[in-house]
């Protein structure tokens, strides 16, 4: 693969990811970052592919990259990680393989269909596992927790003696409405 076609593909990834981010109504200030996350994931996938590893490994590592980049961006930009991750994984999808598998099925070439289809399925599974791993890795650190309420019960509830007898409310009355 020569440098020119690689550059062209990178451009395609940037445009495609940013445009699908618009399609998902991602806030305008996050568009460029989402596109960059997608580009990073795709670059990792290509690099892993050059090493001769199977496509599933590329998809897994690419998705892991997108997921980690999304989490980092989410913390830096104070936005949900979904905003960056959902458009970012689209370039990793094994679309061509899945399509070739379908074409082979239509031609009743079941051997080729099985090979291509299995590879596409495993690559799609790799994306899912990469996302899972990225989320699992980042859930451990630094997620700002919602604080426990400072005063769970009101002082009045504490001073009032607990009700001993069950109160039967009429059916037409709102059961939650016991204020009066």
């Amino acid at each position: 693969m020569d440098a020119m076609s690689l550059l062209l593909k990178a451009l395609g990834v940037l445009v495609g990811t940013a445009a699908s981010a618009v399609l998902f109504n991602v806030p305008r200030s996050a568009l460029l970052w989402a596109a960059l996350a997608g580009l990073m994931g795709w670059a990792v996938q290509i690099r892993v592919g050059l090493n001769g590893l199977p496509p599933a490994a590329g998809a897994l590592l690419g998705a892991l990259t997108v997921s980690l980049a999304g989490e980092a961006l989410a913390r830096a930009r104070r936005m949900p990680a979904l905003v960056f991750v959902v458009p970012g994984i689209l370039p990793l999808v094994p679309g061509t393989r899945a399509f070739q598998a379908m074409l082979a099925l239509l031609r009743q070439d079941h051997g080729l269909a099985a090979v291509e289809g299995a590879q596409a399925l495993v690559a799609a599974g790799g994306i899912a596992v990469g996302l899972l791993m990225g989320t699992a890795l980042t859930r451990a650190w630094g997620r700002p927790k919602a604080q426990a309420p400072t005063r769970p019960t009101s002082p009045q509830n504490q001073t009032r003696p607990s009700r001993q007898r069950a109160v039967v409310l009429p059916l037409w009355k709102d059961r939650n409405d016991v204020s009066n």
């Binding site: 062209l8 593909k9 451009l11 395609g12 990834v13 940037l14 445009v15 495609g16 940013a18 445009a19 699908s20 981010a21 618009v22 399609l23 998902f24 109504n25 991602v26 806030p27 996050a30 795709w42 104070r78 936005m79 949900p80 979904l82 905003v83 959902v86 458009p87 994984i89 689209l90 370039p91 999808v93 679309g95 061509t96 899945a98 399509f99 070739q100 379908m102 099925l105 239509l106 799609a124 994306i127 899912a128 996302l131 899972l132 989320t135 699992a136 859930r139 919602a146 604080q147 426990a148 309420p149 005063r151 769970p152 009101s154 002082p155 009045q156 509830n157 939650n176 016991v178 204020s179």
Partner: protein, 259 residues
């Protein structure tokens, strides 16, 4: 916050929690985020809050031993990440004390209202442009050249049109029909431009329709311990992908029949 939580204020908190959750679920946020947002709002108001969210609804229970409980069903789900980001920001500023509960309730009810006609038209135009650009970008990615760029732009517009036409159908059927339309039109384009790579065109047209959000949400919810939502969303993404594949198969083979 110093006053005791009477019924009326508990009801207010419950309403704000419910509205926030409804916006989040309807815009495609993951379930873990919905429950986290609800508990953030509760913490900001100093009351105990429990909630159970699923991809199709939310139950919120506010207050300690005599809670106010409300539930809401969410039937229409779209993908709108900016609403998710806005609700996220609202819950954060509520927690930081920069926003009062009343102001938050007002902003949330604005989010729940349908947008005006002018902004609707503007966002539709933006969607058409975005889908055509996305399709041509992905056409470059999957091996297309300059010859495929303009057909890919048109294909994106077509996919968007079909999307709007079949929006009333169940989502799986809509995606199936969209797959048929995209693959059929991409295959027909060979009659006009003999040298075109139909494969790249079809794959590029289909990529924006893939269930990326459902897959991402499934992974995030499963890792957050939201087993029901995670499995449900995983099934959703599998079914959507299968429907799309079936549609593309049908479109391609329909063309093979005609002489």
């Amino acid at each position: 916050m110093d006053t005791l939580p009477d019924r009326a204020s508990l009801r207010d908190v419950a309403r704000v929690c419910l509205d926030a959750a409804r916006v989040l679920i309807a815009s495609g946020a993951e379930t873990a985020r919905v429950e986290e947002t609800v508990s953030r709002i509760g913490a900001a108001c100093g009351v105990e809050v429990e909630s159970i969210a699923t991809p199709t609804g939310i139950t919120v229970s506010v207050g300690g031993n005599r809670p106010v409980t409300r539930l809401a069903r969410v039937r229409v789900r779209t993908i709108d990440m900016s609403k998710v980001a806005v609700v996220n920001a609202i819950s954060r500023s509520l927690e930081a004390g920069e926003l009062s509960l009343q102001a938050a309730a007002g902003e949330l009810s604005d989010l729940l209202k349908p947008s005006g006609l002018a902004s609707e038209r503007k966002s539709r135009r933006r969607m058409y442009l975005a889908q055509s650009l996305a399709t041509s970008g992905f056409a470059l990615l999957v091996g297309g050249g300059p010859l495929e760029l303009v057909p890919a732009l048109l294909l994106g517009i077509l996919a968007r049109m079909v999307d709007e036409l079949v929006a009333f159908l169940p989502p799986f059927l809509a995606v199936f029909l969209n797959g048929v339309a995209v693959s059929l039109c991409a295959s027909l384009s060979r009659n006009l431009l003999p040298g075109i790579q139909v494969d790249a065109l079809i794959v590029a047209g289909v990529i924006p329709l893939l269930p990326g959000l459902a897959l991402t949400n499934a992974a995030r919810d499963l890792m957050a311990g939201e087993l029901i939502a995670g499995v449900a969303r995983g099934a959703d993404s599998l079914l959507t992908a299968a429907a799309l594949a079936g549609g593309v198969c049908l479109g391609v083979s329909l063309l093979a029949w005609t002489p």
